[in-house]
Structures are given as C-alpha cells and as structure tokens.
C-alpha cells in the first residue's frame, strides 16, 4: 500500500473507534464525569478540607493531577480492551484481516483510538476540576507529553488483554484486579513520603506511580520520583508492549486459527 493508502486505512480505524465510543457516550464519557465529580466533592471538598496540606499543596490541588491521570489510564485501557475484544467476539476483525492493511497500522489505529478517548475524558475531568480548584501549569510540555505517552501505554495494555481474552470476564479481570489497585496505590491520593520506608520501596515498583508523579510535576512542580527516570520507564514500557503486540498480531494469536 502507498503511504496515502496506509494513512487512509489508519484514519478509518481511528474514526471508527471514535464513532464507537461517542455513539455509546452514556457508557464511555458520562460515567467518569460522575465518578470524578464525586471524588472531587467527597475526597477534595469534604474530607480534603480536614486533611490539610499534602506535599505543600491543598489536598484538592494535590489529588486533581492524580484523578486526571486515573481517568486517562482507565479510559485508554478499557476502550481498546472492550473494542478489540468485541471486534473479535463479533468476528468483524475479519474485515481487517482480509484487507491489505498491515498489522502495525491495525495496532496503531486501535491505540490512537483508545488514546483519543483517554485524552478526551482527561480533558473533561480537567475542565470539571476547575469548578473545584484552580489549576496551575508548571510545565506544559511535561503535562502534554506524559499524558499522551500514558494513554498510548495503557491502550497497548488493553490491546494485549483483548488478544488474550476469551470471554467478557477476561476483559474486566485486569482493570478490576490489577489496574484499579495499582492506580489507587500509585500516589493518586497521597504522597509516598507518608509511607514507611519499606512500603515506599514497594510503591516504586508500581509503574503508575511514575506517570502520576510526572503529570503532577507538570502541574504543581513537585514529584516523589525522578522525572527523567519516569520518562525512560514509560517509553521503555511502550517499546516492549508495542513489540509484543506486533508479535501477537503477526503470529495470529487469538485472531487466526
């Protein structure tokens, strides 16, 4: 395929993904708005006012970057895992497999589609947070790059989950039992400096901690971890997951007999 044709194929997948999650906006865009509003009201306003400062900032100000990242992570992941799995389940993955669209374009299309939903929900939550607190911008480039890379990374994670999934139960196992605990323990609601030394060390094994802290650094200028190290970890993870997804697609795991 020529470069133009490759781009048309890629864009077709992205548009179809966007059309899918906007068509079912009640399941994709509305729930994070309600959940995050509750977080802002309960944790930020009601409980947060009694907690006082965290990392030198008001509690509400401290948790907003973490909540935005939480939305980006869960929405990027769940978009790709549910979309690609239902593509497999309804067998319309065959539409792509019989076409000349190369595997890397298929992967890129789904990943960007998932990232668009993650970023859109992130933007909605950001706008929502402005009703509860003022947001400062410490470094716009860090904010933009880390949120984009995180969306890519978790879209790739969702893709691999979808390839291995054999039922709708498998689609929800990782988000429920892995992603949610890691996000809650990834420094969204607290600074890891509050933890005993042992648990600080354990927390540093949690990849989400690096993303949340880098994003928080972009907004507030404070972080529990080294930003350069966080970037290398995120980019390294993207390279590994992308290569693994390509391996799965090329061997036809879960999609070809």
């Amino acid at each position: 395929m020529s470069n133009r044709e490759l781009f048309i194929a890629f864009w077709t997948i992205v548009v179809r993904e966007i059309r899918r999650f906007t068509r079912i906006w009640g399941q994709t865009l509305l729930p994070p708005v309600i959940t995050m509003t509750l977080y802002f009201i309960i944790f930020g306003n009601l409980i947060g006012s009694r907690i006082g400062e965290m990392g030198g900032f008001g509690y509400m100000e401290y948790i907003v970057p973490g909540l935005i990242m939480m939305s980006v992570i869960t929405n990027s992941y769940s978009n790709v895992v549910s979309s690609f799995y239902s593509t497999k389940f309804q067998r319309h993955i065959e539409e792509l497999l019989v076409s000349p669209t190369p595997n890397w374009v298929i992967l890129l299309g789904y990943v960007i589609g998932g990232s668009v939903r993650g970023l859109l929900v992130g933007l909605i939550v950001t706008v929502l947070s402005l009703f509860f607190t003022d947001l400062s911008v410490h470094n716009i480039w860090v904010i933009g790059s880390v949120v984009f890379l995180t969306a890519i990374l978790f879209s790739l994670g969702g893709f691999i989950n979808a390839i291995y999934a054999d039922s709708f139960d498998h689609v929800s196992i990782v988000p429920t039992f892995v992603l949610t605990p890691l996000t809650y323990l990834g420094g969204v609601f607290y600074s890891i400096s509050l933890l005993p030394e042992f648990w600080q060390g354990v927390s540093q094994l949690n990849p989400i901690l690096y993303m949340v802290n880098t994003f928080r650094y972009g907004i507030l200028g404070v972080s529990d971890i080294h930003i350069g190290f966080a970037y290398s970890m995120i980019i390294g993870a993207i390279v590994i997951l992308f290569s693994y997804s390509m391996y799965l697609l090329n061997t036809g795991k879960g999609i070809r007999h």
Binding site: R16, R91, E94, E95, V98, S99, T101, R256, H257
Partner: protein
C-alpha cells in the same frame, strides 16, 4: 488464460492435531464460476479461510493472480473479495458505514468509498436501508450486505462461502442472477454451497473435497456425463394404487399419480411409454429430476469413505 487461484499441496493441521487439509491442489482460471463442494467438515471453509488470510496454513502454497500469499499478502488481499458463511460485521454499525469503512481498509478515499458504497448498495437493493443499524436487517439483507462489502474494493476474485444458506427461494434466485451478471462482467467467482442445484445451475467447474482431500476436480458437464442413470418424473393418469409393471426399469410410485423412473444411458424412454400405454396409463407430463449432481456427489463421497475404510 490467467490463473486466478492456484493452490498447491496445501496442508492444515489445527492445534488440536486435527488434519483438516491433507495436501490439496487445484486451480481456478480467470473468469471461471467455480464450485467447491463437500460434506460438513470436509475442509472447504479451511481452504477458503487460508486463501483469505483468516486461517494460517501448515504448508503448501497459494497464489492469487500470480501473487504468492507468503511473499505478497497485500497484493493477494487486493485481488480478493470474501463473503463468509457467518455474519461478521458490527451489528451496531450503520449499513453504509460498514461498506465505506471496509473501503477505507483498502486505502480508498472517503468520497470514492461513498460513491462505491452507494453503487453496490443500490445494486443489491439495500440503499433504502443505508442508515439502519445492520442488526435490524433480515437474514437475506445481511447476506447481501456482506456481498456489497466484499465488492467495494472491486476484486477480481470473489469467494463466497455458502452465500445462499438460509435464504428464501425468491431471494436465492435474485442472488444467482446478480452473481451470474458479475461473472459475465469478468469477476472470477468461487463458491461453496450445500445446494447442489446451485452449483449445477451456476458453475462451470467443480472440485469435490472430502476428509481434506480432493476427490474430483473437473467441469460440471463432464461430471454429469459420468452419470449412468437419470431419473425422470412422470405425471400419470388415471391415478394408480399400485406400481405399474415396467419391465427392465427401476420405478417408484409417489402418491397415486407420480411415477419416478430410473433410465440408464443404454436404455431409451420409448419402452417406458409403450409399457404404460399398454397398461392403459397416460403420461400427462414429464421432467427430469434436478438433483443429478447430488446423486453423483453422494456416490463420490461414499466411494471415498469406502476407500478410507
């Protein structure tokens, strides 16, 4: 003449150890209307699945219009349109979106994709349904939608896996007409079907596959010539309670006024008429039984089974 599809020593062993294809080889020439027949589980869908890149082959080669599936998969896919046995489109997408999205996967720009979608949806009688979600369509409409989708990139080889399964007679006939028209315009067509009447009416050449091997690969005409016996259906009057005596022929009475008579190639029909006339029975009309191919198919598959035993 160009070869549209060349399959050579194709083998497929599934992960559970089941050997679905045991080294089959056959060719389909450009412009042909070709039938791939076989009982359930014979290997038809596996063969078509490998050609259309939905199933990984174990060994062997597949070439479509000279492009090797291993070396130039994208070129092979460009030449192919695939209509699968089961519905495999997004049930929640609109009819028109399904067709234009498929065009996009082939790199066709949006404006052109829209024009082509309109053309094929009009042609298949689905244009009025273009804004409906596909799950709202009837079974026959869904099959036609899959044909429109398979044609949107204008392939030279169209593969249909049981295209008329579960379709009513009227619609089946109109689909036959559409496919014949498409074939006359130059598209090579390969179909699998359980309706042997369909293969007999539409196809020029045929391969019969059974237990993963090709048991016959020839033209329909020469295949039918192999039939030694033809069955004729005679409507008779007055009604008969017992089978009339027909010396030298195998006959069967269906109801009280229909007689089925097997006539071998060496025999004529004159003796049938004279014997019936002598018994005071008039033949009011006569036709031959249309499932000739079915008889041959059953005999070939049975023979293959006996040899395996």
């Amino acid at each position: 003449m160009t070869t549209a599809l060349a399959i050579n020593d194709l083998r497929k062993v599934y992960n559970n150890g089941f050997e679905a294809l045991k080294g089959i080889s056959f060719e389909v020439q450009e412009g042909d209307f070709f039938a791939l027949l076989g009982p359930n589980g014979a290997g038809k869908s596996t063969t078509l699945g490998i050609v259309s890149s939905l199933v990984n082959k174990t060994s062997g080669s597949v070439e479509v219009f000279g492009h090797d599936l291993d070396r130039s998969p994208a070129m092979v896919k460009r030449e192919l349109g695939v209509v699968p046995q089961e519905f495999n489109f997004n049930q929640f997408e609109k009819v028109q979106d399904i067709v234009t999205t498929q065009a996009g996967y082939y790199g066709i720009p949006a404006a052109e994709a829209k024009e082509r979608a309109e053309f094929y949806l009009q042609k298949l009688g689905l244009w009025d349904k273009r804004d409906q979600t596909s799950r709202m369509l009837s079974g026959g409409m869904k099959r036609r939608l899959m044909i429109a989708r398979a044609l949107v990139h204008e392939p030279r080889l169209l593969i249909l896996d049981e295209p008329t399964a579960g379709v009513d007679i009227e619609l089946r006939r109109s689909m036959w007409e559409f496919l014949q028209e498409l074939n006359e315009e130059g598209t090579t067509i390969i179909l699998t079907t359980h309706y042997l009447e369909e293969a007999e009416s539409l196809c020029r050449n045929i391969a019969i596959i059974d237990h993963g091997t090709i048991v016959k690969n020839t033209s329909i005409r020469s295949l039918l010539q192999q039939l030694n016996t033809e069955t004729f259906i005679l409507d008779i009057a007055p009604p008969q309670e017992q089978l009339p005596a027909l010396d030298g022929y195998r006959a069967e009475l269906q109801g009280d006024h229909t007689l089925l008579v097997d006539v071998e190639k060496s025999q004529g029909l004159n003796s049938v008429f004279s014997q019936l006339s002598g018994a005071g029975i008039e033949v009011t009309s006569m036709r031959n039984k249309s499932n000739r191919l079915e008889e041959l198919f059953v005999s070939l598959v049975d023979k293959n089974l006996q040899e395996k035993k």
